[in-house]
Symmetry: C2
Subunit: 191 residues, 2 copies
């Protein structure tokens, strides 16, 4: 996706070989036109997946998931990082490992919103180490639902995160851009 | 907005006279078609406001703000509740009071994204006591920017939250629905 590559090159801030800041257009501040194009691109890629739900995790997954849901006319669920006091009933839970801090946290989804009949498209802003995607997969499986696709805006392909969730996954994985290297010498994409 | 009223009446769960849960279509799970209609309605209402930025607060303000931003082709900023370790530079801060718990928290916005030239449209999912809107107003004013409108999906009008931020505000305030009463006897709208 050329528009996205151009944005990453012109506005992304590489903090280290593993961390890139995209606060000016993807997180914190959102370029609305770019986000609409991202939604349209995911909708095109997953047009035939027959998704009945889109699942992401708060906070930064919400914009691309919502933009995609609006194009596909599919409900969007965002997993919460803390269970709100107002969320009663049965809850689906999964553990998320954070590589930078070597800690674990939890995400939760209200069971009412995922049924065994659901065909779930996972959308997120980043795939880095792959742990967040693993947790979303765990949520879908604990609901007895089926994963029909995984889409990410940016994949840090050099971290090999896909290997953490591709085993046993019978669904396509698509990144709008794949970064193969980042550093003081710049950013390299895989094509 | 009739579609929204119908959703609130059919799926909203009144927990108390002050709390209504809308997790099935507005928070946690988002009805994508409804959210698109919400964005279109805000875009129609604020078409002539000349907004250059839309500002909301994470988490549940993001969907209506983004849906509006995509219709108006205006960048969307979501204030963070905690400053991420990756957010450097100068930061705008405001205090948010929480009425239910009588505590205070903070929201932060990177100063780079709001300039004195900006005309800012505030969009949120709820106006309850008005404290969150006050904090967003404080952020805009501390940037030296101008507020050109305030839009909320649902206003709990009976809490009188508008009185907390309307003084000195030279901009229209619009709620897509205004709830005048909630309780075991049902929900009443103002028209």
């Amino acid at each position: 996706m050329e528009l996205l590559k151009e944005k990453i090159l012109s506005e992304g801030v590489v903090l280290s070989e593993k961390i890139i800041i995209v606060n000016s257009f993807l997180n914190h501040q959102i370029d609305a036109g770019l986000m609409e194009a991202i939604g349209a691109e995911f909708a095109r890629i997953f047009a035939d997946a027959g998704a009945t739900k889109i699942l992401t995790a708060e906070v930064s997954g919400i914009p691309p998931a919502l933009a995609t849901g609006m194009k596909l006319s599919v409900p969007v669920i965002y997993a919460r990082k803390t269970r709100p006091s107002t969320m009663g009933g049965d809850i689906l839970r999964a553990r998320v490992r954070s590589a930078p801090t070597d800690t674990e946290s939890e995400i939760v989804v209200k069971r009412d919103y995922l049924s065994p009949d659901d065909r779930v498209l996972l959308i997120d802003d980043f795939i880095s180490e792959g742990y967040a995607t693993c947790a979303l997969c765990d949520i879908v499986r604990s609901a007895g639902a089926r994963i029909v696709g995984v889409g990410t805006v940016i994949e840090k392909a050099f971290l090999g995160g896909r290997s953490r969730f591709e085993e046993g996954l019978d669904a396509p994985v698509h990144a709008l851009v794949r970064i193969t290297h980042m550093g003081e010498d710049g950013i390299t994409f895989d094509e």
